[in-house]
């Protein structure tokens, strides 16, 4: 395995082109564990740690931009992530433990696209766009078209995730990430990421996604529409929760059976809405 440490995105793209199975190394929290388990064996590994352009959080005209190499801890600590973008800050602080949050990055996590991880649902609820660079320039992909399946994304060989753009969202929007896990620091058994805004008593914006409930983050537009314009009464939330659960395709594993996860979805949705509206 050849290890390269480019200092610019262009150099990284050139390095990625040097072998068919070249991989990017971000924080290593997942990829090095996979190397240790001999699940991957790339000929070329492109370490991204020296590319300063991929790091940090900045304000943009429409919201917030997070560089792909920004760590979970840096996101959890950023008090500019308020309103709708608070869903990211909330998720970041609940990922694994301090030692992992210190090295793990948002770009690494979403490029890996493990549906049990916390970022896929969080950035889906936030309505993010993912910036992807290749030798022909950069393109921006809506999160709804980014996650294609279990460990599959819109990122093509030779491409690199460079940033995540989070829209500010409507006025009065609030965000929250509710994680249900067996023990502190575990992957979610199921999770709900939510962004909503109220106009008086009525909900005039809502977007949510469930994590660990299918091959990718689970977002059901009909479930959101069921709540839009309502006063978010218990029967509205229950109906929306059923619509969401009906589309779920969770795996059965050590964290819970498929059936159990499906049962959790409406309950967690209710809890998440209660938490976010009481903020």
């Amino acid at each position: 395995m050849k290890y390269l440490e480019p200092e610019t995105v262009d150099e990284a793209i050139t390095a990625l082109a040097s072998a068919e199975d070249a991989r990017c190394l971000a924080g290593g929290a997942t990829l090095v564990a996979m190397l240790n388990a001999e699940l991957v064996d790339p000929k070329v590994l492109v370490g991204l740690r020296k590319i300063h352009a991929l790091r940090g959080i900045s304000r943009t005209a429409d919201g917030i931009r997070i560089g792909a190499m920004t760590t979970h801890n840096e996101i959890a600590a950023d008090d500019r992530l308020t309103g709708a973008t608070a869903v990211l800050r909330s998720a970041a602080g609940q990922i694994a433990h301090e030692a992992i949050r210190h090295v793990g990055t948002i770009g690494g996590s979403i490029a890996h696209a493990d549906p049990s991880a916390d970022w896929p649902a969080a950035i889906t609820a936030a309505g993010a766009s993912v910036e992807i660079a290749s030798s022909s320039g950069t393109r921006s992909v809506s999160v709804d078209e980014f996650f294609l399946g279990y460990l599959q994304t819109a990122v093509q060989p030779g491409e690199l995730v460079t940033a995540i753009d989070i829209p500010r969202g409507p006025k009065n929007a609030r965000g929250h990430y509710l994680k249900f896990a067996r023990v502190d620091g575990d992957y979610a058994t199921a999770s709900i990421a939510i962004v909503l805004a109220m106009d008086g008593k009525r909900c005039d914006y809502i977007r949510f996604a469930a994590g660990a409930c299918g091959p990718g983050p689970l977002r059901v537009v009909a479930a959101e529409e069921r709540l839009l314009g309502t006063e978010l009464k218990a029967e509205d939330i229950a109906a929306a929760g059923d619509l969401l659960a009906a589309e779920a395709d969770p795996v059965s594993d050590v964290r819970g059976s498929s059936e159990y996860r499906r049962l959790l979805i409406p309950r967690l949705l209710k809890r998440a809405i209660t938490l976010v509206t009481q903020q």
């Binding site: 929290a29 090095v32 388990a37 590994l45 030692a99």
Partner: protein, 155 residues
């Protein structure tokens, strides 16, 4: 084919020049090449915390770090905590509290406790439990570990 490269790592205040294969983790290099065997290999997946070390003052997993990617960082292992004559106060507190059973998880526990106390000198029991949620003790000797961290915070 595995490629090997020359690297310089700053470990416990000393620069060590090494020839390492690119695939090897810092944990492997610490234990096998430098014989710093205080850092333990548990799960090798970043879950158990036995391989915790300090990098630029933060506790991280040496099993999740490729040695080649650690150049230029300030690495401290359990061996680097004492000055050779006297134990670090966190090590001493673990001894005084009798927090050690089989001892396997202790280097990782002490490193994590050290990183916590450097940031938060007087943590609450809840904060200690949260920070050490990182580190698994298969003897399940957690109560005295928490006592030890409190003790270290007050000495």
């Amino acid at each position: 084919m595995t490629e090997s490269v020359h690297i310089d790592l700053r470990i416990n205040g000393e620069v060590r020049s090494l020839q390492v294969e690119t695939k090897r983790t810092l944990l492997e290099v610490l234990r096998q090449d430098l014989l710093l065997t205080g850092t333990k290999r548990g799960c090798n997946q970043g879950v158990c915390g036995a391989c915790s070390i300090l990098v630029d003052g933060h506790s991280i997993r040496s099993c999740l770090s490729l040695a080649v990617a650690m150049q230029g960082r300030d690495i401290v292992t359990i061996e680097g905590l004492s000055d050779g004559a006297r134990l670090d106060r966190v090590q001493q507190a673990f001894l005084d509290a009798g927090a050690i059973q089989c001892g396997f998880c202790m280097p990782g526990m002490i490193i994590t406790a050290k990183a916590l106390l450097d940031k938060n000198p007087r943590p609450s029991t809840e904060e200690i439990r949260h920070a050490l949620g990182n580190n698994i003790c298969r003897c399940s000797g957690y109560v005295k570990v928490i006592d030890a961290v409190h003790r270290a915070a007050t000495t």
